[in-house]
């Protein structure tokens, strides 16, 4: 069997998720043995303009140039994998959508702002079809490996559609709400093995929201713990602003 031709691409992001791939340790050697990497700007200088079996895309789509480029990548790739929060849910780049575009453009680029066209930040699937999602900021290596195996097998990977609380409870962490700290675990999709909470941090919601959250119930809980709605909305919007685009 011919090795699948794979390329990594980046859009608006910190490239930290690709760094996670490079930092994977021994597993990266096994994976490299199974695939033919033809382009990966972060670790090699070769470029590839031909057909691809798998395009792994990090970053969100934030300007007309990026829209054109991701459409081209989609056209020449059999499979598109969105890598990391920026690609899967828009991530922190979505915070731009809190502002009027022209104002924020002026704020960033100053007087020559009209030379820098911009658009509302979008996740990759809000522009082109995405076949696999690897959530997280950064991606969680064991999940990334599971997704890559699914890609290579040609089988679907289902991102868990239940909250981080499930994994957190199984890890027997003391609930952040018992510590009187607001945490986004109850509405955020699991799959990270409650990575942050295991290490004493709260959940920031970097994996996006569960598909059918109980908004009324969540509001009641927030009220019960005496947390201001603004605080929760701000926390949510740090990673999840782009969900409003639909």
């Amino acid at each position: 069997m011919k090795k699948p031709r794979v390329a990594f691409f980046d859009f608006a992001c910190c490239e930290g998720c690709q760094l996670q791939v490079a930092n994977m340790g021994e597993a990266v050697l096994d994976i490299i043995g199974l695939i033919d990497v033809v382009e990966w700007r972060e670790v090699m200088s070769e470029k590839w303009n031909g057909k691809l079996d798998v395009a792994i895309v990090e970053g969100s789509i934030t300007d007309p140039h990026a829209v054109e480029r991701i459409k081209q990548i989609r056209k020449r790739s059999k499979i598109v994998v969105a890598l990391g929060s920026c690609a899967t849910i828009g991530g922190v780049n979505g915070m731009k959508n809190n502002y009027v575009l022209d104002e924020i453009r002026q704020y960033v680029y100053g007087n020559s702002y009209q030379f820098f066209p911009t658009e509302a930040t979008k996740a990759v699937h809000q522009v082109v079809k995405v076949d696999y999602f690897v959530n997280g900021c950064p991606v969680y290596i064991p999940e990334l490996v599971a997704v890559l195996k699914a890609v290579l097998h040609g089988i679907p990977y289902d991102v868990p559609d239940y909250p981080v609380c499930v994994e957190c409870k199984l890890n027997e962490n003391v609930c952040m709400y018992d510590r009187k700290v607001a945490c986004l675990g109850p509405v955020t999709r699991a799959g990270c093995n409650s990575w942050c909470i295991n290490n004493g941090n709260i959940c920031y919601g970097c994996r996006g929201m569960v598909s059918n959250p109980n908004e009324k119930g969540a509001q009641d809980v927030i009220a019960k713990y005496n947390i201001s709605m603004d605080l929760i909305v701000n926390k949510m919007n740090m990673y999840n602003k782009c969900r409003e685009i639909g």
Binding site: V145, Y162, C165, E172, V174, N214, G217, A218
Partner: protein
């Protein structure tokens, strides 16, 4: 020797010796009034006064992830079943948790027997610890007949001030008494003190919900379309905490995972929960318990109705974990109270 005495000054010595025999697990404090069963080697680490742990002792009987099968398709199909187990002594289980393990034993001993579970269970020694009073207001152990010891342990400790009186229930328990060399023979006055404690307990442990135990199945027969389920629809966040912390919830999922060489792999099982969105989702994307109310109702029926028909026992042990852990404040006692209130209305209406 059916009863033995352990003087408190010898407790730490006993624990140290016990931990030398095989891995010893006991409740330890995690802060913020949270506790967990973890490995200990000294008596000081153990939280003797504790409310039910975050996860019940089921995590040792049914690990959250367990390999069932290893396969290799390098040279034709080749699969080998595997059983993961480790000899372990669990110290300090309250009667609610012992009751939970009795429930799991019944489920996994039914035919076809679950040999993974049974093999593991046979390697676990259980040492109970009596609750002289209620742990907190969430417990409802008396309602489900789990406030007093009724077997399911090798040794059972009752704190009587300066000493523990210990019921020796099995040959494995006898062996521990011999090996640790920390025990004395129980005297008549000590047995009388145990009896006095139990008499006192009978006064303070009372039905936490105003219903006769034997009427609970009937109550559930009447309550399938009760209003309270609809109310839970609005409150439940479907986080699955209530089932994950339940000592008798045993639902699991089975997953095949292939290694990076694309040839070897394992089949493993993990805990699943009827409260989660994908649990009852089937091919075609149809979900036959899409509403959170239906899922919550299912949970209650799996505790108070279905197992009564099948195993003649409640699968609620009254530990109160589901109530304590629920962020939305869904309370088992409150739900039962609502059901009782509503069924009374219905009975009245029938008479009018």
């Amino acid at each position: 020797m059916q009863y033995a005495i352990l003087r408190k000054e010898r407790f730490n010595d006993f624990i140290a010796r016990l931990s030398e025999i095989q891995k010893l697990v006991a409740p330890v404090s995690k802060g913020y009034n949270n506790f967990a069963f973890e490995e200990v080697t000294t008596g000081d680490e153990i939280a003797l006064k504790y409310i039910p742990t975050i996860l019940p002792a089921k995590k040792f009987f049914l690990p959250r992830r367990e390999t069932l099968l290893e396969f290799n398709d390098a040279k034709g199909a080749n699969a080998e079943a595997s059983v993961e187990y480790e000899p372990v002594t669990l110290f300090g289980l309250h009667t609610c948790d012992l009751s939970g393990i009795q429930c799991l034993n019944m489920v996994f001993s039914e035919r076809p027997k679950d040999y993974n579970y049974i093999t593991r269970k046979n390697k676990i020694i259980l040492i109970g610890l009596e609750c002289n009073e209620y742990c907190d207001e969430y417990a409802s152990c008396h309602l489900v007949n789990a406030s007093f010891p009724s077997g399911g342990y090798d040794l059972f400790f009752t704190d009587l001030g300066d000493y523990y009186v210990v019921h020796v229930n099995t040959p494995a328990g006898d062996e521990i008494i011999d090996k640790t060399e920390s025990f004395e023979k129980a005297e008549v006055y000590q047995m009388n003190e145990l009896k006095n404690l139990r008499d006192h307990k009978r006064k303070i442990f009372i039905n936490e919900v105003p219903i006769d135990r034997s009427r609970i199945p009937e109550l559930f027969d009447l309550s399938f379309s009760a209003r309270v389920w609809k109310e839970l629809e609005e409150r439940c966040l479907a986080c699955g905490n209530c089932t994950n912390v339940c000592p008798t919830c045993y639902c699991f999922d089975i997953i095949d995972e292939i290694g990076l060489n694309m040839k070897q792999g394992v089949r493993y099982r993990v805990w699943d929960s009827c409260q989660l969105e994908p649990f009852a989702k089937v091919a075609g994307g149809i979900n036959f318990r899409k509403e959170r109310s239906a899922r919550q109702r299912h949970r209650y029926y799996r505790k108070f109705s279905y197992p009564v028909e099948r195993f003649s026992r409640f699968f609620c042990t009254g530990c109160g974990r589901c109530t304590r852990t629920c962020m939305a404040g869904i309370s088992l006692k409150e739900t039962l109270n609502e059901l009782i209130k509503e069924s009374e209305d219905r009975v009245w209406r029938r008479w009018l």
